[in-house]
Symmetry: C2
Amino acid sequence: MQTSWDHRFAHRTSGMKSSFIRELLKVTAQPDVISFGGGFPAGELFPLERTKAACEKVIKDNGQKALQYSTTEGYTPLREWILEFSAKQGLKASLENILLTSGSQQALDLIGRIFINRGDRVLTESPTYLGALQAWNAYGVNYVTIDTDNDGLNTDQLESIISTNIKFQYVLPNFQNPMGVTMSLERRKKLVELANKHSVPLIEDDPYGALRFEGESLPTVAVIDAEVNKRSDQVFNGNVIHTSTFSKILAPGLRLGWVIAPPEVIKKMVQAKQGADLQSSTFDQYLAYELVKGDWIDEHIALIRKVYRERRDVMLEAFEEFMPEGTTWTTPQGGLFLWLRLPEGCDTIELFPIAVEEKVAYVPGQPFYPNDGPKNTMRLNFSASNPDLIREGVRRLGNMAKRSLATIKHRPSMRTDE
Amino acid sequence: MQTSWDHRFAHRTSGMKSSFIRELLKVTAQPDVISFGGGFPAGELFPLERTKAACEKVIKDNGQKALQYSTTEGYTPLREWILEFSAKQGLKASLENILLTSGSQQALDLIGRIFINRGDRVLTESPTYLGALQAWNAYGVNYVTIDTDNDGLNTDQLESIISTNIKFQYVLPNFQNPMGVTMSLERRKKLVELANKHSVPLIEDDPYGALRFEGESLPTVAVIDAEVNKRSDQVFNGNVIHTSTFSKILAPGLRLGWVIAPPEVIKKMVQAKQGADLQSSTFDQYLAYELVKGDWIDEHIALIRKVYRERRDVMLEAFEEFMPEGTTWTTPQGGLFLWLRLPEGCDTIELFPIAVEEKVAYVPGQPFYPNDGPKNTMRLNFSASNPDLIREGVRRLGNMAKRSLATIKHRPSMRTDE
């Protein structure tokens, strides 16, 4: 007897949709498409020789252990390395504060799992990281949003909203995905102050923090909060849950991220992770430790910064040259993405198939808005393409936008805002 | 302001407990403890030289790709290899039937996520695999159970129960965890027949199927179901969701498992996996493919079978020599575990700290019963210790059990069943 499955799926699956971005990546995986769509780091910077040597060393020194089951919390030397790395950025914490996760996507999922009851209100930026929305949709969340502008989350809107029964607030202060903007120090301080005043936990997602090209490094929300909730010991125990990842400073294929949070939260996340996947890859954890230890990682991050900055600059210059008048964009001080807004009337979802025909891809901006947003935005990645391709890709996008605008002008007006 | 977290955690976390086994493993991680507690494969059989060569080859041929993001579904050549491996066991399926997961634990979690609404009734064996209970507790499940005996799940009890609004049924037909027993062919057929008759999906967990030491190989429940729900194409599309893993035939540290299921179910699981961790380690998938391709894996599995069979035999002989009269045990035809029942009156949870003092560890049987079960059982792993240690460990356990029985005889009776 054939069974049909639709009626069997749990209610929560109605909130699950295949990620627009991941489906889009399949469309644009043809090698002749210039893709600004994904969030890929520059593959040509991956340390292949060093990885080969690290594999050899792991197998020689710890082969059996590296292939065996290990603890849910993660490989201790790697967790200690992360603590040192974080301490350099001012975030002081202990082993009981840290959990190794299968990419920072898993950190977001575990946060949803331990906190969100169906119907809970979660406060996010608008726009915000799509992967967080995708993780939390499965838990039946309602999003309440605050606009993000060139200085990050607009804290002027915050006090009236944060007091309205919010379960937690999610922020990306550094080189935000998707906009590439950085939250100002003043706003960070205001955010921490209000979150503490109203007892709303802050989830700080910081995958790109180490990739600053220019400007002054700002303390993370976790660091500011630790100042406010000061303790005499080295245990991090305030109002912030901080996540980051090896994906952008080393390699996303290893699927290694981490959470730094109060011990009570870590304990609960460890229990949730046991049910989810027992532990992250032992081998990849040994390998990552072998790769990052010592001074090499600092040089490697410096190299990534240099290359990404060049690519950002090429993209910004190409915008000046090829984009139609009335187009605006952000100028990120770090990270992998920027945000472009075409003139009014352009619809980046409608334009997407045309772009693919022209062999260039981007991510339309609208899906990044938890509730609703403008139609004329797009997220562009500048880390994964070399300067020549960036210039050529922007040229194609610019031509497409110009043609689209020409059509709009000749089309009988159907817009209600005119 | 310090926040306390307890009141913030979601309702579902009340069902999460730290796995007894994983906590226990920490206690028994001292190198001088003989541990029959974990589910560790024999580390000394891991193919270290081959892994080293495979790493080199992956980095040389596909370095950038192996460290980069990839698809949620998994690395296609590895999925094709799994399809061939499954076809050898009679299970014919296509690429649209298979999802690569972060260990088979993640497969169980994703199954819970896409199927279980709070309060749903799930039918399991009693006792059953603890990791499945841990995954599904987070989704607010109610367990309905059927006893498992030396021939596996007792299908005589099945018809009256499977008709009582069951969401799905979970079975481990081969060398069941925890008991080590194998479900008879007759019962497998009866199970498939009743599940189809009452439209209850079967989840077949088969991590050990390839590790049969003796006796005739039996078709999996998936294979029997495919006969019943026959199709003309190669697409697997019946009533069964089949999971397995590289953990027991290759290495658990790589965290690679898989699900073979109807395309509709795979699609939904892919969406759920995107929210959970985007994808499993790209590097480990390339590495595993390089390791398993060709004929080597057959020889390797033959070696594992030979070694585990020896160890099982040593353990069974030591039981005869050291265990008190009235002790019974299962004789597994494959896998990693067996099940021991001490004479009435012994309590293996009470005895556990005494065992640890004696430097020997096991897992008490009671937690494997979803609802409730006897106190005098334990699960013993025979794959992870060499023959000398197995003999010595069983000697210690035997002495402990004998001393416990002597105490019980001299203790004023407090048992209500006398």
